[in-house]
Amino acid sequence: MTKIKQGYYGQFGGKFIPEILWTNFDELIASYKAAKSNVSFWAEYESLMGSYSCRPTPLTYAQNLSEYLGGAQIYIKREDLNHTGAHKLNNVMGQGLLTKRMGKKRVIAETGAGQHGVATATMAAKFGFECEIYMGEIDVERQRPNVFWMEKLGAKINVVKDGTKTLKDAINAAFRDWIYSMDTTHYVLGTACGPYPFPEMVMWFQSIIGKEAKKQIMSVTGQLPDRVYACVGGGSNALGIFSGFLEDTDVELIGVEAGGKGIDSGKHAARFVSGAGEVGVAQGMKTMFLQDDEGQMRETHSVSAGLDYIGVSPILADLNEKKRVRFEVAIDDEVIEAVKLTIKKEGIIPALESAHAFAQVIKEAPDMRKDQTIIINQSGRGDKDIFIIADALGDKAWKEFIIEKAKVYCVGK
């Protein structure tokens, strides 16, 4: 990352914000920089994550999967074992500590799949903040269990009915709230996107993944891995693990985008691999977007709500341009197969998002030597997305169970 000016990574990044938020961002940037230069802040953060979440998360040797694929030795970084079931909590707890330092009492957040919303609501409950979550109407419909938990955790859910009614619209809605509420409120952006300092700040909190993973692989194998794989939606889990290896140029970094129903179908969220991504400015940042010729954002598709996003971290856009990260794509069908295989071989249930990284490893590992090693970042766990995964697997018995269950409610009425 060569910095041209503050908040730029090559030609990407920046801070495209309404003027009314300028002073608020000055305060946030100052607070972020103060925290970053204060050694005790990171120690406080690590200790919080050790006692409240499950850090350091283990690095699991996937012996069966490695043997089955017959190539490289595969290790899995278990971000699924974080409290609330995904890497999202790393970022959220870090921003929670910052919110406290800034003396704010209310947090807002956008959420797509609901993971970041649940993590933020959890953090708010622990720190005693008031919490409101913005979520697209379509996502509310497909992620009811997460909505349930957010509400139980005390968060107010605002259903966003604008635009495509998904993640990008929830981000706009959260910004609109912030334009009014910035004196009392911190906006906990969920991924390494948006205006500076968010991309860098979120990457910093997520770098705990890469720091641990590097130490762990060195202690197990005595050497750096050959390749590191992560799925890429906004890019926070990928940047989290990649950040541990960016300087180690022998380590190949592979980001896997959502191929949806296939690149040719046009129904995907592959900003790099599809060739359809263009440089644009929206959601406060300059990066690669899936947009039309006149700069209007397009609809995206993925089986995993967490990767279903029009933009991508400007830091990753720069790493792509510098060819430091190789981007690949996994389509919905490959992802479902990867979930099935990982469950069967390792007894581990990856989230559909994380399964994109597994799908790419399944394609590549067989062609690697047995003395080579791979790390996959398992960003989240899949079992709590049972409604989505059961549908994706087309499980007949589950469907019958839901029908019967619904009947009970109807009679009960």
Binding site: T23, N24, F175, A282, D293
Partner: protein, 255 residues
């Protein structure tokens, strides 16, 4: 250029009116009818918003109009064509564009500004472009000869306002309160203080957007700012009562 024109108009009038509309909503045909009504009702400046799929600083009413306009096929080319016809039809009225940065970025900044100028547009407001990010945009504005209009807000420090005013031409778009478009401002002594603060910073004409509702609001700010921006209220009247009612509303503001 724009600054002089506004100052000339101000010689005869205490306060200029700048109503707003979203191009392509509900249709270009109705836009034309609405503009004819606005001009007939005495509006001196008209702010035309080119719709964008991510209108971050707009409130629910204008946001929905953006969505609808795009659904009905509005795009930058059509907006530029419409602007050209309209500016030619009303040579005594000042027209400015409001649009988010990606619209000009995707079209090509200098190409966009050149076309806007050729259409007869005199200023451009880009609500998500701080001047720090607008190096190319500002350079092209200068080259083409269009006024970049920046924004003063109540959260800005005096130092920041000074900084912003140096890049601004034609007029300053002043925000009366926190929040997205369409929220009513409490018109009280704090607004007076705010306007005084803005006035101290710049000699440029001040356009105030503050969720204007009626004639009383207009009287309160007359003599304090140069231009009253009327945005969301216009859309709401148009939606509820139709275009002729917008004309009556504008006329009543000055009676």
């Amino acid at each position: 250029m724009l600054e002089n024109k506004i100052n000339d108009l101000r010689k005869d009038k205490d306060l200029l009116l700048m109503p707003h509309l979203v191009l392509g909503y509900p249709s270009f045909g109705e836009n034309a009818e609405l503009i004819d009504t606005m001009v007939g009702a005495g509006a001196e400046i008209i702010e035309m918003q080119i719709p964008f799929s991510e209108p971050m600083s707009d409130g629910p009413v204008i946001l929905k109009a953006n969505d609808e306009a795009l659904k009905k096929g509005a795009n930058t080319t059509k907006c530029l064509d419409f602007a050209k016809e309209t500016c030619a039809k009303y040579p005594d009225t000042i027209f400015v564009f409001m649009t988010y940065y990606n619209i000009s970025f995707a079209y090509g900044i200098s190409r966009f500004l050149e076309k806007a100028l050729q259409a007869g547009i005199q200023g451009v407001i880009v609500p998500d472009l701080p001047h720090e990010e607008g190096e190319e945009f500002l350079f092209c504005c200068k080259e083409v000869g269009l006024s970049p209009i920046f924004i003063f807000t109540p959260t800005n420090t005096e130092e920041r306002l000074k900084d912003v005013s140096q890049y601004c031409e034609g007029m300053v778009y002043c925000v009366g309160r926190k929040g997205v478009t369409g929220i009513k401002t409490q018109i009280d002594s704090s607004l007076d203080g705010l306007i005084k603060k803005y006035r101290k910073i710049t000699n440029l004409p001040l356009a105030l957007g503050f969720g204007i509702q009626d004639k009383n609001d207009i009287q309160t700010v007359t003599g304090k700012v140069d231009i009253a921006v009327i945005g969301t209220k216009i859309l709401m009247i148009q939606q509820k009562e139709g275009i002729p009612a917008v004309g009556e509303f504008l006329k009543a503001l000055r009676e």
